[in-house]
Amino acid sequence: MPINFKNVFYTYSEKTPFRHEALKGVSLTINDGSFTCIVGHTGCGKSTLIQQLNGLLIPTSGSVDVNEYHIEKKNKSLKKLHDLRKEVGVVFQFSEYQLFEETIEDDVAFGPMNFGMKKEDVLKIAHECLKTVGIPEDYYKKSPFEISGGEKRRVAIAGILALQPKTLVLDEPTAGLDPRGTKYILDLFKKLNEQGTTIVFVTHDINIVYEYATDVIVMNEGKVVLQTVPEKLFAEDVEQYSLETPLIQKTVNLLQAKGMKLDVSKIRSLEDLVKEIAEARK
């Protein structure tokens, strides 16, 4: 079932002078099996939005439907939210600070064990997940506090992957990773997406949106300004939403200005561009 936001408002610290309205009437749909990117400048409410997806924050007004769960202020039973969190895995911004176990494998196993799985089964899953995020085997018994920041991030991602969620929500998971690490992680999400996992991806990097997204949500000041598919978004002038033009699109535009005939609809990644250029020069 798709995820549905109906006129969601969220206010932090209501009824105090710290009151801050972070979401102001958000309505949107996230389709099953999509790779939905959420973009928007700092402080526009992206992180607030995704915390509604697994009931960490409950809308001040309005409602959120995720699978068969109806999240609304009137209707909160914690037991159900606990189950929801197995279906919707959220990797937070700065997720590297959530590690606490003695070894990396235990930390990855921590999540599934909270949902009642046995330790032996969980360790197997943990090893698989660590492998998929690219953590070498001799790290499994290390302490999570003696590895680098980027490695911690990967372990944290593995910790959520181990829940085997149907929907995977990621809040800027690539911030601070090196280019190769970024590409590796992104391709991993793409593969999961192709295997049927819905991906919700918060990012500041418009190039990622261009290359990976099947749906885009543009936010500004607590509101959704635009929900569309990337083809439509990039056919328009994206700068009106204070977004940058993706590098590949810039290149295509330059080449087209020089008279090269390129089929824009086929170009999503650097490899596509190279192929198209080769095609055009034949």
């Binding site: 105090t16 960490l56 969190r85 895995g89 937070f92 997720s95 600070y97 959530q98 606490f100 999540g111």
Partner: protein
């Protein structure tokens, strides 16, 4: 996760917010004395207690502290209150003779009930008072106020500034740590941790999953802070000027006199009956009061002199 705002400074612009921090500290102590002093009879105790409760409740309203929040924080005290009642019932206070009712072979005395009520009233008033202070005073002003009271100790080489700085940094980081707690709790909740329900062992594990990351990040933060202070040449021994200067206004004078008078009044009342027979108590307490006033005036002079120098 929302009740973490408890005891935090809340920036309204009330009369109490504008009061001088030093004066507020004095008033807090004076009112605490009034609350905790013992009165000769239960009648007087509850009349004075009631009057103080009304007065403090008015202060709460003036300072915009949410009464709802206070009752929320009192929920934790329920267990304590019941325990208190039980202890007082089974071990009645000395001189208890008026039986209220009997439960089987146990007599419940009025004195026992009054005694418990008295303690509960005091507790609630004490919590309300501290809450007013922390909700209306910026942590930094609070430490400046404390440092001011410690000024005379500087003469004997007591590191008053360092102590005040340490306290103010600690206070400054309370909201940060609360935010951090909230963030880590959310992250762990996403991994299926249930902080509110579950077996004892699961709850323990939940707390461990919160405490460890919290400590790690607190240590990291303090290290970063120390580095950045050093990088900017902080020297605790240096003479410094202050961006913010505490000012004693006319309003402060009024509240100072009012609360001072209130405290003196309760002290005298507390020994009203005794004073008919042994008048020697009144002068003693007056002497203490006079000492406090003299101390404050002295500190003011020393501080002014240091500032000029």
């Amino acid at each position: 996760m929302t009740n973490v705002a408890l005891g935090r400074y809340v920036p309204y612009n009330s009369f109490i917010h504008r009061m001088d921090a030093r004066n507020k500290i004095f008033c807090l102590i004076a009112l605490m004395v009034a609350v905790f002093i013992s009165y000769p009879t239960y009648e007087i105790t509850f009349i004075v207690g009631g009057a103080l409760a009304v007065f403090i409740f008015a202060l709460l309203l003036i300072s915009h502290v949410s009464v709802k929040d206070i009752f929320k924080s009192l929920r934790v005290l329920w267990f304590f209150i019941i325990l208190l009642l039980v202890i007082n019932i089974f071990i009645p206070p000395k001189g208890a003779e008026n039986v209220a009712f009997s439960m089987g072979s146990v007599n419940v005395y009025w004195e026992a009930i009054f005694q418990s009520l008295k303690i509960i009233l005091r507790l609630i008033l004490m919590i309300e008072l501290t809450m007013i202070l922390t909700a209306t005073t910026k942590p930094l002003d609070l430490t400046y106020g404390l440092e001011w009271y410690l000024t005379p100790l500087k003469l004997v080489k007591f590191p008053a500034h360092e102590v005040a700085m340490t306290i103010s940094i600690a206070l400054r980081f309370i909201p940060t740590l609360l935010d951090e707690t909230d963030r880590i709790m959310k992250a762990q909740s996403s991994r299926g941790v249930d902080f509110k329900h579950g077996k004892l062992s699961a709850r323990l594990k939940a707390i461990v999953s919160l405490i460890i990351p919290l400590f790690i990040s607190a240590f990291q933060r303090s290290e970063e802070l120390a580095d950045s202070m050093e990088a900017r040449g902080y020297d605790p021994k240096a003479k410094r000027t202050r961006y913010h200067i505490l000012r004693f206004s006319l309003n402060d004078l009024f509240s100072f006199i009012l609360v001072g008078a209130l405290m003196s009044g309760t002290i005298i009342l507390s020994h009203y009956q005794w004073s008919l027979q042994t008048t020697s108590f009144v002068p003693w307490y007056s002497l203490i009061l006079i000492c406090i006033f003299i101390y404050i005036i002295l500190v003011g002079i020393i501080d002014a002199a240091r500032r000029k120098a």
